[in-house]
């Protein structure tokens, strides 16, 4: 497929990559939906061991704030690319990466602390569902950070601009999706008292 065909040859006028990626995200949404449902079904059913009371809500609330702000940085990255603002593009992309990495770092800290306090994957149903749900989300964020770093290397080579921002757009879709999933996970896992 040449760039020419990509741009002008689609029936819906929508880039193949974006349409395909939206479809992929629909599938991912069902994946997380299933994990969330499992968490809810098993909430309050643990027969032993620690539960929600171990979770540090202020810390995770701040982490949530950082992750959501990173979505804003991603929007500004794409906006800069569409305007041809190379400096802005690189700056905001780097900001997105740093905030994403910060989120993962805090999550690792949180896990270490919880394990130290006695909540592990096998402790009880809360441990199982908590670590699988937040773990799969964290793995998605980590993958997103790696993806954005690869994108940043290309940005340093000046590969993106008003004529070629679709790869950034697609990475952005993924990033926003991962954030959006967290918007569901945070209240369900941390805020609601089951």
């Amino acid at each position: 497929m040449t760039a020419h065909v990509e741009k002008h040859g689609t029936t819906l006028g929508l880039d193949h990559r974006k349409l395909g990626f939206w479809t992929f995200l629909a599938s991912e949404a069902v994946f997380f939906m299933s994990l969330i449902v499992v968490f809810i079904i098993y909430s309050g059913r643990s027969t032993e061991g620690p539960g929600q009371e171990l979770l540090n809500i202020p810390l995770t609330a701040f982490n949530t704030f950082v992750l959501l702000t990173s979505s804003l940085a991603m929007v500004l990255t794409i906006d800069a690319a569409r305007r041809g603002n190379q400096r802005g593009l690189k700056f905001w992309l780097l900001m997105t990466i740093l905030m994403g990495a910060f989120f993962v770092g805090v999550q690792i800290y949180e896990y270490r602390k919880l394990i130290h306090e006695g909540l592990t994957l096998t402790s009880n149903l809360f441990g199982m569902t908590f670590y699988t749900l937040t773990g799969f989300h964290g793995a998605h964020v980590t993958f997103g950070v790696l993806w954005l770093i690869a994108t940043y290397i290309k940005a340093l080579q000046g590969k993106f601009g008003p004529d070629n921002y679709i790869p950034l757009d697609v990475a952005g879709l993924y990033w926003h999706f991962v954030d959006l999933v967290w918007v569901f996970i945070f209240p369900i896992v941390y805020l609601i008292r089951w």
């Binding site: 497929m1 040449t2 760039a3 020419h4 065909v5 990509e6 040859g9 689609t10 029936t11 819906l12 929508l14 193949h16 349409l19 395909g20 479809t23 992929f24 629909a26 599938s27 991912e28 069902v30 994946f31 939906m33 299933s34 994990l35 499992v38 079904i41 098993y42 059913r45 643990s46 027969t47 994957l121 096998t122 009880n124 149903l125 199982m128 699988t132 690869a150």
Partner: protein
């Protein structure tokens, strides 16, 4: 471009090595489609042999042909193979070959992703079958009910192979579906509006959406099971407060749409074949398409009808029972579409048409027994008996396999330029049709008589001996038909009657090019102003190949993507990671390295963006 009278051009002499490299690195949707179909037919034969082993064991009471453990493995692998390694890939393969041709596209939207799906299917299938050489095949049924799947009841690694092998092929299915959705929505030739698309294309579109939405549920179920088996969790363990029924919910939320995932494209195929051999356009195209979409939606609301016997609250059970009956309405609409298409048509009883008509009749039987089972008290009586086995074989064999065989006879000439032999084809049809009914019709009575399914043997004097023996005779009749089919393929590939562009006088776009089509599919396309672009409304006949060529506007913008080895590398990496999770982490680490190398190569390859 061969015309009817000419012999086909002799194949160019090429070394076997360059041929191999060509097929391993191809991104051509037609070659990928052929490999999908070939792989699926191979596994259809393997699954068939497993079925024969089961039938030999059950031919009489208290036989000891198979050890009970081996029986469980055969039963599990028969179901798993037929659903995941035969039905799904054969539909993906035929879809791959014909969807782009039917909408006038040059290829699929993502050619390399397409190749990745193929290799993941093949390598994932091999991984699953490696279980036979690694301590034992999966043995807890294709439905893998917890807690039978836990280490306690299935201690060897078979279920781990089941989990990871199917995850690998699952990635293939999702990748393929994304590709179909984008291709169908976004790569239609000018004039091919949504409401002019062939019904087969519509069904592939709906099926792709079902795969995208249904598979993640299976993946989650499998991830949790894998953690239970290998990392000490207890997602399905009642002793820690969990419920094993969770597995059934997650599995059937995938599993019931899965039934429609395989049957909808089959509906699509007969919706192409019956009109062409009745010389009439499909009756009620719009109703047929809406029915397809309706089935797609409703299929997500019926999963618990597999679970009436687990003790659902009555209101829940009846709601799911009602939804399951409602799905019969759009299905019945389709049956009437096919019948009224044939009504007063000038029928040509080719092998393809015989299979298609048999499909309609057999699927009606499967549908009616489905409605019986959707009635909650009836299900309580019949659940886990051979009646259920009879029911779903009438839908899957009578529904999917008969229409796939019809499609094989219908499309083989387009794919290889030669027809399958019609006389042997009719022998194949007769043996299959008779054998199918001999095998599965008696199972209705066996089920009503209370014979339980999934058991390795049964006692003498229960009145089940004769019917079981008849079923076994039927299974071998099917096998004889299949042997003839395979021979027919092998012989017809070399010596079949040359087909020409349009041997059946079809009117959809795949018949507007040579047989087999060139790498770029079409030199030019005729204008598409209706659902039957090759139909000449004035002369009331199909355009001849020369007329099609005269009407076509040549297309100068032919850009074919270069071949790529990276899909194979990425697929090998993913499969090695999966294998490493079963055997040893060392293999998984190597898998990660292969995967990363593949991804880097993929991104860097020139000629794509």
């Amino acid at each position: 471009m061969a015309t009817q009278a000419e012999a086909l051009p002799a194949p160019r002499v090429v070394s076997w090595w360059s041929t191999l490299v060509d097929w391993l690195t191809t991104v051509d949707h037609k070659k990928i489609g052929i490999m999908y179909v070939a792989g699926a037919l191979f596994f259809l034969a393997v699954g068939g042999i497993e079925a024969l082993a089961i039938r030999v064991q059950l031919a009489g009471p208290e036989r000891a042909f198979l050890h009970p453990q081996t029986y469980n493995e055969m039963l599990t692998m028969h179901g798993t193979t037929m659903i995941f390694l035969a039905a799904m890939p054969i539909l993906a393969g035929l879809g791959n070959y014909f969807v782009p041709l039917m909408i006038g596209a040059r290829d699929m939207a993502f050619p390399r992703l397409n190749a990745l799906g193929l290799w993941l299917f093949i390598l994932g299938s091999i991984l699953l079958y490696l279980s036979f050489f690694s301590g034992g095949a999966p043995d807890a049924g294709w439905f893998a009910y917890a807690p039978l799947t836990t280490k306690t009841y299935s201690p060897h690694k078979g279920m781990d192979f089941w989990i990871l092998g199917l995850m690998v092929t699952g990635i293939a299915s999702i990748a393929g579906s994304i590709n179909f959705i984008v291709t169908i929505l976004n790569m239609r030739a000018p004039g091919v509006k949504l409401n002019r698309m062939p019904v087969f294309v519509w069904t592939m579109l709906v099926t792709s959406f079902l795969i995208v939405f249904a598979f993640p549920s299976l993946t989650v179920a499998q991830v949790l099971l894998f953690l239970d088996r290998n990392f000490g969790t207890g997602f399905y363990a009642a002793e820690v407060g969990a419920t094993p029924i969770l597995w059934q919910h997650l599995f059937w939320f995938f599993g019931h749409p899965e039934v429609y995932i395989v049957v909808l494209p089959a509906f699509g195929m007969v919706s192409e074949i019956i009109p062409v051999f009745s010389r009439k356009p499909i009756f009620g195209y719009t109703a047929l398409v809406y029915a397809t979409v309706a089935i797609g939606f409703i299929s997500f609301t019926v999963w618990a009808h597999h679970m009436f016997a687990v003790g659902l609250p009555p209101v829940v059970a009846y709601a799911f029972g009602a939804a399951s009956m409602i799905i019969a309405v759009p299905t019945a609409i389709k049956i009437f579409n096919w019948i009224f298409t044939m009504w007063k048509g000038s029928l040509r009883l080719t092998t393809a048409m015989l299979f298609a008509i048999s499909f309609v009749a057999m699927f009606v039987i499967g549908g009616l027994s489905g409605i019986m089972l959707a009635t909650v008290p009836v299900d309580w009586q019949l659940t886990d008996t051979y009646f259920v086995v009879a029911h779903f074989h009438y839908t899957l064999f009578g529904g999917v396999l008969l229409s796939v065989l019809a499609a094989c006879y219908y499309w083989f000439p387009k794919m290889f330029g030669r027809k399958l032999d019609e006389r042997w084809g009719k022998v194949h049809w007769l043996l299959t049709f008779v054998g199918f009914n001999l095998t599965f019709l008696p199972m209705h009575w066996l089920g009503l008589d209370g014979m339980p399914r999934r058991i390795a043997t049964y006692g003498a004097g229960l009145g089940w001996d004769l019917l079981n023996f008849i079923a076994t005779v039927g299974a071998f009749t099917i096998a004889a038909g299949t042997a003839i089919f395979i021979l027919n393929i092998v012989v017809s590939l070399r010596k079949g009657e040359p087909a020409g562009d349009n041997p059946w006088e079809g009117w959809t776009l795949e018949w507007a090019t040579s047989s087999p089509p060139p790498a770029h599919n079409f030199d030019g396309l005729p204008p598409v102003r209706s659902r039957r672009p090759l139909w000449d409304a004035e002369k009331k006949r199909v355009l001849t190949p020369d007329e099609v060529r005269a009407l076509s506007t040549p297309d100068e913008h032919v850009h074919l993507p270069p071949p790529s080895v990276w899909p194979l590398v990425v697929a090998a990496g993913i499969t090695a990671i999966a294998a490493g999770l079963i055997y040893t982490m060392f293999v998984a680490v190597i898998g990660v390295l292969i995967f990363l190398a593949g991804v880097v190569g993929w991104i860097q390859q020139e000629g794509y963006h």
